[in-house]
Symmetry: C2
Subunit: 130 residues, 2 copies
């Protein structure tokens, strides 16, 4: 399989796959022409990583998860701890964004948004700067 096929299969851009090779997440073989030759295992790994990334795991988490996945004797506790940390990080981020959304949407609602120059949004920004 060439990189384009893998990109289609995994949904990852080819650039990203090359980057993942660069940082050592996968190590595809090379054909005589210098093209990357991806095997089934490479494809599996990349799908695994794509899924983990979509769940919010960092690249380093993914590296860890891959090695845990390959270690048939690992305890599920390790994986769960990693997942819980990730979940907590996601939840903090959500809370932060919800805070922003609340404040900003209140301002947007109060701003009439027409041709007049007075604007509650700028007033809020400036007032807090006082």
């Amino acid at each position: 399989m060439n990189i384009g096929d893998v990109a289609r299969e995994t949904g990852l851009p080819a650039k990203t796959i090359r980057y993942y090779e660069d940082i050592g997440l996968v190590a595809p073989a090379r054909g005589a022409n210098g093209y990357r030759a991806f095997g089934d295992m490479d494809l599996q790994k990349l799908k695994f990583v794509a899924r983990a990334r979509s769940l919010g795991f960092s690249i380093e988490d993914c590296r860890m998860l891959l090695s845990l996945y390959e270690d048939r004797t690992r305890a599920s506790g390790e994986v769960k701890a990693l997942a819980r940390d990730t979940l907590a990080r996601i939840e903090r981020k959500i809370a932060e964004l919800e805070q922003m959304r609340g404040a900003l949407s209140a301002l947007v609602e109060r701003c009439h948004g027409d041709d007049r120059p007075d604007c509650p949004i700028l007033e809020d920004l400036a007032e807090i700067a006082r």
Copy 2:
């Protein structure tokens, strides 16, 4: 005012303030010793930016907002449009993170997280990779 005072007043790290000068958001005067000498307007601007950043506006948005703020004749519609775009971006990000949270928390709950090697989290990652 020296940079340290401004950092205390605005809550921004001194490094960040230097960076803001670098990219042209503020242009403090310089004293004879080469130290930045911040005036009241600089302080106001930095507080304005800090507030705008905390509401999720990008640096480029902040630049725009500052110039809109300085333009006494600008229409509030421009500001509102910028704020609405920012709000939409925040809402998309929240939705994405909530999606992650849902999927990941379901997995975390199903994982017993003890010494046994079977782990629904890894199984999910691998299964989708099939």
